[in-house]
Subunit: 382 residues, 4 copies
Amino acid sequence: MSSNEDVPVRAPERTGVWFVGARGSVATTAVVGALGVAQGLAPATGLVTELEELDPDGLPQLVDLVFGGHDVNPQGVAKKAESLAEGGVVPAALVSAVAADLEKVDAEVRPGYAPGEEDVATAVQRLADDISDFRRRHDLARVVVVDVASTQPPVDHPEELTDLDGPLPVGAVYALAAFRSGASFVSFTPSPCLRLPVVVDAAARHGLPYAGCDGKTGETLLKSALAPMFVMRALDLRSWTSVNLLGGGDGRTLADPEAARSKTVAKRSGLDAMVGRPVPGPMHIDQLEDLGEWKTAWDHVRFDGFLGTRMTLQLTWQGCDSALAAPLVLDLVRLVSAAHAAGRSGALPELGFFFKDPVGGTEHRLTEQFHELVAWRRGLAS
Amino acid sequence: MSSNEDVPVRAPERTGVWFVGARGSVATTAVVGALGVAQGLAPATGLVTELEELDPDGLPQLVDLVFGGHDVNPQGVAKKAESLAEGGVVPAALVSAVAADLEKVDAEVRPGYAPGEEDVATAVQRLADDISDFRRRHDLARVVVVDVASTQPPVDHPEELTDLDGPLPVGAVYALAAFRSGASFVSFTPSPCLRLPVVVDAAARHGLPYAGCDGKTGETLLKSALAPMFVMRALDLRSWTSVNLLGGGDGRTLADPEAARSKTVAKRSGLDAMVGRPVPGPMHIDQLEDLGEWKTAWDHVRFDGFLGTRMTLQLTWQGCDSALAAPLVLDLVRLVSAAHAAGRSGALPELGFFFKDPVGGTEHRLTEQFHELVAWRRGLAS
Amino acid sequence: MSSNEDVPVRAPERTGVWFVGARGSVATTAVVGALGVAQGLAPATGLVTELEELDPDGLPQLVDLVFGGHDVNPQGVAKKAESLAEGGVVPAALVSAVAADLEKVDAEVRPGYAPGEEDVATAVQRLADDISDFRRRHDLARVVVVDVASTQPPVDHPEELTDLDGPLPVGAVYALAAFRSGASFVSFTPSPCLRLPVVVDAAARHGLPYAGCDGKTGETLLKSALAPMFVMRALDLRSWTSVNLLGGGDGRTLADPEAARSKTVAKRSGLDAMVGRPVPGPMHIDQLEDLGEWKTAWDHVRFDGFLGTRMTLQLTWQGCDSALAAPLVLDLVRLVSAAHAAGRSGALPELGFFFKDPVGGTEHRLTEQFHELVAWRRGLAS
Amino acid sequence: MSSNEDVPVRAPERTGVWFVGARGSVATTAVVGALGVAQGLAPATGLVTELEELDPDGLPQLVDLVFGGHDVNPQGVAKKAESLAEGGVVPAALVSAVAADLEKVDAEVRPGYAPGEEDVATAVQRLADDISDFRRRHDLARVVVVDVASTQPPVDHPEELTDLDGPLPVGAVYALAAFRSGASFVSFTPSPCLRLPVVVDAAARHGLPYAGCDGKTGETLLKSALAPMFVMRALDLRSWTSVNLLGGGDGRTLADPEAARSKTVAKRSGLDAMVGRPVPGPMHIDQLEDLGEWKTAWDHVRFDGFLGTRMTLQLTWQGCDSALAAPLVLDLVRLVSAAHAAGRSGALPELGFFFKDPVGGTEHRLTEQFHELVAWRRGLAS
C-alpha cells in the first residue's frame, strides 16, 4: 500500500484514489481487494488491467494506490468490510488480514456533500480542498476521483446547467470539485453529471480527463456480449425482457422510481443501439431485501430465425454487484491516471468497455469496445 | 430458382447446390427457404450473406441457385417439407406455395452411397458422375457440394488415410467425388473427412476450395459469443456444464455414443481454446423423441469474480436446429462459390464463423471470426 | 354435439353451455376441443372430469353439450379457430374436421352487453331472454353460463352493490341474467361479481349454484402445488417473485393496470394463505405482443433451510393459456350442471381446485382441493 | 444436550443418536444444528417435527439427544464443522458457540467398519458393543442408529442374503449391529440393506423398528410435489429430464457408476409410480468439484395439454444437501425413537415422507405422505 521509502532508488509515483461514497460496498470491496491483491493474499481475478493486452507493468501498480474519499455515512470502512464478509462478498480472512490498513483508509474519509445543507459553490470549494489536502499529505503524483455513490436521477434539461447558480446533481458537484483540485474524474454510478455543460467546461478549462457513466457489471455486460451475436447472425430480435432482483443498498435506491429511470434508460439504449432499432420488452428493477449484496437477473429473449421460426433464449445471472464493480473501479483508476499522466483531457470514450452509458462514445458491443480499449492503451504507452 | 431466360441481356451465372442428405431436414429447409426468400414469400432472416458488410449483390443470388443431391432415403423432398411444416419448422403456406418446385428438386436427387454395398473407388466415380451430369444438365457455372448428412464418428488415425484402398468415412467419399467432378465442398456435419490426407490432397490436385466442419448453430454459437466475455473481463471460469436435449433425427444419430463423441469433442475444444486452458464440466447430448425438430440446451456456468466471489450464469436455448442450420448452408454456398469463382483453393479458415470445428483455423471467438469473414469477403471482391 | 334423436330409447339429457365471450380464445378452444374429443378426433388430455375418481360416466357427456353465447365481437367462431390453429393452440386438421359444427355454434351467438349503451335492468332482461330462448330452442335440460370474457377490475365497495340501480361490473350483469333465466353460472375470469350482494341474493332467490373465480391455469397452479411443499417441510419462504409474460388478447387487457390489479391480488392472496403469512416479492404481468397465445412465467423463490442456509428455486413455465383453460371450462360445465341437477344452490367451494380465488372457500393447496373435489363428487352421486 | 440432573423431579428420558458416518457433512450439520436450536441460537427452520401437526412436545426434545457414532475417517467433528462454516453450510458464529460440545461428540466416535479388514460376524459384534456401551455410559432410554454414510451400490440378488456368511452391504452390517444392541435403525443413504432377509429377520427377532431409504431432500422432493399436479390435472407427461450437479463428497461417490445406479433407480421409480407408467427422459448425476457442499439440479419437463398442445416446465433448484438432510435426520430420530418407545417394530412405511425409496410403502406423493405421517403420529400418541 505504500512505496518502500527507505530504498535509495527513486520511489515509484503514487496515485490517489478518492472515492465519492468511500464507505459504501463498492469502494470498500475495491479497497479490500486492492490491498489483498497487492499483498499477494488474493488472485487478480476480475482485473482487466492485469491482462497482458493492457500492459499492466506500465500502469500504476495496486501497491502504489493510496485511498481516501468523501461520505455522508459515519459508519467506517472496517465495519463495512466486516458486513461484506458476512454477506459472502469478500473473504473474512482477507478482511482480518488488512484490518489495520482499513482503519488508515477510513481516517482519510471526509464528510460528503448533502444537498440543501450547503450552497453549491461553497461545497465545491470545500470538497476540492479535501482532495488537494489529500494529495499534498501523501505526496501523490495525481488523484483520480471515482463516484461510486448511489444512482442519481436524470435531469430534464441538462443543456441548461451551465454554471453553479442552480441546484446541480450531486455527482456534478463532486466532478467540479475534482477538476478544481486538479484531479481526474470517473462516474461509475448512473448520473447525468458528465453531460452537463458546467462539468464539461470545467474539465476542458483544467485540461483533465474523465470517464463514465454507470459501470457495466451484470446484465448489461451480458447484453453487450450477446446482442451482437444476434446481429452478426441476422437473427431477428423480437423482444428482450429483463428482470433484475437486487438486494440491500443498491436495491433501496432503485426502489425510487426516479432513480430507477436513470438506470433503465441506460440499460435500454445500449441494446437498441447495438441492434439498430428499438427492441421491445419490459425491464424491471426490483428490490428484494433478502438478497443482501447479491443480484439475480433473468432475461427472456425472443428471436425469429430462418423463415420466422420462433426461438427463445433465457439467461439467469447470479452475481454480486460489488464484486463485479470493484475490480473495474481499480482498472479505471489505473487507466485514467495513466491518461492524466499522458496529458489527455476531456471525455475518454475508449473506456466505454467499462460503462453502460459511455460518455463521448456510441459503441456498446463488448468485443469492439475491448479492441478500442487495447488500441487506446497502446497509444498511451507510445 | 431460374434465370429469366427470355431477356436478351446476358443471363446471370447459376450455381448448383448439391446436397449430401438432400432429403433430410436441413437440406429441405434450405431449399424451401431459398425458394421462399427468392420469390419474396419470406424475409431473409438468418441469412448472414444478406448483411451489408458481406456485399450481397456481389454473391450468387438465391434466385440463381439450382438444387439437387444424393440421398439413401427414398422419401421425397416435398413429403419432408410437409412434415417440417407440421413440426413448426417452416410455414405450411410457404411449403404449399413452392410445392411444384420441390418436386423438381426431388427429381434431381440420386441414390446415395451406402458403405459396404459398393467399393470406395466405384462409389467416388459414380457420385462424381452424378454431380457432373447435374452441372451439364443445368448449364451451371459451378457446383458446391454440401454434406448435411448425419454425424459421422471420428477416426482413430486420420493421418493414415491417404488413398482409396481402405474404408473411408462417408463424408470423405463424397468430398472426393465433389473434387473429381470439379465441385467445391462444404462439410456441415461433424466429420473427420476434411482432415484426411486423401481428401486434402485431392482438393489441392484439383485446385478447389473447401470449408468445414460442423455448423455452429446453437449452444456452441452461444459459447463463442459468451466465453470471450469472461476472458476479456478476467473472470475465472471454473466449470461449464452443457446439456443438449435433441429430438428426432439428429438425436437418433447422437444416441450412438461413437457419433456423439465426434460432436462432443468439437464442442469442447472450442471452449478450451477460447479460454486458453481446459474448462471442466460435463457435456451431455440426449435424445428426447418427443422434441421433434426442436432442441433445448441448458448451460450452467460457474465463474469466480473478484476475490474469488462465486457467481453463476445459466442459459436455456430453445431452438430449431434445421432452421438455424439452413440459412448458414445457403450462406456457405454463396461464399464458397464466390471463392471458387475467384480461384481460391484449399481450406477456407476465414469461414470459421460458421463452424464448431473450423478446418484450417484456430479462432473460435464469434466477433473475431466475423471480422475475419468480412475482411476475407472484401478481399474476394477486390 | 347432438343426441341421437331417432333412437326409440329415451334420449340423454342435453346441457347447454352459454359462453360470455363466445368468440374468444378460451371459448373457441373449448368448443373445438369438446367436438374433437366427442368425435374421437383428439385425446381427453387435460380433462379432469375424465379421471376415474370423478366418475365421468355419471356426468354430462361431451357429446351432449350444446354451445352458444354472448359476444360483443362480430368476428365468428370459425375464424377464431383458424387463427388459433395458426398460432399452434389447436391442430389445424381438427379445426377443418369440425368446421361445419363451428358455424352452427356461431349461429347461436347473440350480441353481448356493452356498458353505457344499455341500462343494467334492460340488459339483464335481454341477456336472460337470449339464454331462455337457447334452452327452449334446443330442448336443454339445463344451461351453464360460463364467463370467459376479459379480466374485470375490482370494485372498491362490493358490499354496497345490492341492486340494479348503479353501474355493475360486467360479469355481474351476466350472472344476474343467468340466474333470471334459470341457468347456473361460472366466473372463469378475474371478476368481483360473485361477491356482490346483488348477485349472491339472486342466486339464492332462484336456488341456483355458481362457482368461481379466475381459472387456475398456470403459475398459480404451480404455486398451489409447490408452496405446500415448503410448508410441509418447514422451510422458510423469504420471497417469491413472479414474472408473467403474456401475448395477444389476455396481455392486452392486463396492460390496463386496473384490470391487472384484479389478477395480481388473486394470485398473491393464495400464496399468503397457504404459507400463513405474507410472502414478499414483486409480481409482474407484462404484455409481449409477439408471444401470441403463449405465455412464459418465471418464478424466483428464495427460501431458508436448516440454520438459515440460503437456497433458491427457479421455475420457467411455458404454456398456452387457452389450452390450459379450455378443458377446465368443460370440467366446470359438467360438474356445475350435475350440481344443478342434484339441487345444489349457492357457492360451490368444493370446486376451488379450478380457481385462483375460490368463492366460498379458503383452501388453496392443490392436493387438498382435489380431495375436496373428489369427496364432493361422490356426495353428488349418492 | 444434557438433562438437568440436579433437579429433584424425574429427569426426562434421553435418546441416543448413533451416526454411521458421524464425522461426515450430514451428521456434523445435524449435530451443530441440534445444539444450536436446543440452545436457542438458531431457528427451527426445516424441522418437520416442530410443526404443530406432529405434536412436538410429545416427542424427544432436541435438548435430550446425545450424539455418538462410527466413522472410518479420523478427522474430527469440530474440524468438519469449521469446513462446513467456510462453505456457507452452517453459520461460523454457531460453530464457535458450540465448539466445546462438538469435541464431546467427537469423543463418542468409534472406528467404523471397513469391509475386508474384519469378517462380518466379528464386525457386527464389535459395532453392537460400541452402541451398547454408549447407551449404558449415558444412561439412555434408547438409541437410534442413523446411516448417513456414502451411497452404497445395489445388490443383484437381495433375496439370497439370508445370513452373515457372505459379504454383506456395509449398511446391512450396521443395521445388524443396531438390532443386536437393541437400537432402532434409519437408513438415510441409498442402500439395499433394509430389503435383505438377514436384516428384516433380525429386526423382527429383536422387535425393533426401522425406516428408510435415501433421504428425499432435493430434486426428488420437488418431483413428489409436482408430478401429482400433472396427474390431478390430467396433463400428459411426455418426458422428464433431470440433471444433478453435485460438489464435494456426495459427488465423488456418485462419480462411481455403480453407486450412482443405486441413486438413479430410486429417483426414477418414484416418478413412474406417481404417474402410473414409465416417463421417459435422461437422468444425469455429475460431479463438479467446485460446487463444494452445494448442488444445482435442472429439470426439464415436457407435457401435453388439451388437444396435444406442447408445453414445458423447467426447474432450477440450488440447495445445500447437508442443510436439507440434517433436519430430516433429526426428525427421523425423534419419530423412530417415539415408535420404539411405543413398541412398534418392523418397517415404518408411514415415514415415507422423508425418503426417496420408502421401505414398506408404495406412496410417493408428498401431500399424501404427509397425511399418512400425521395420522401415524396421532396413532402413536393415543
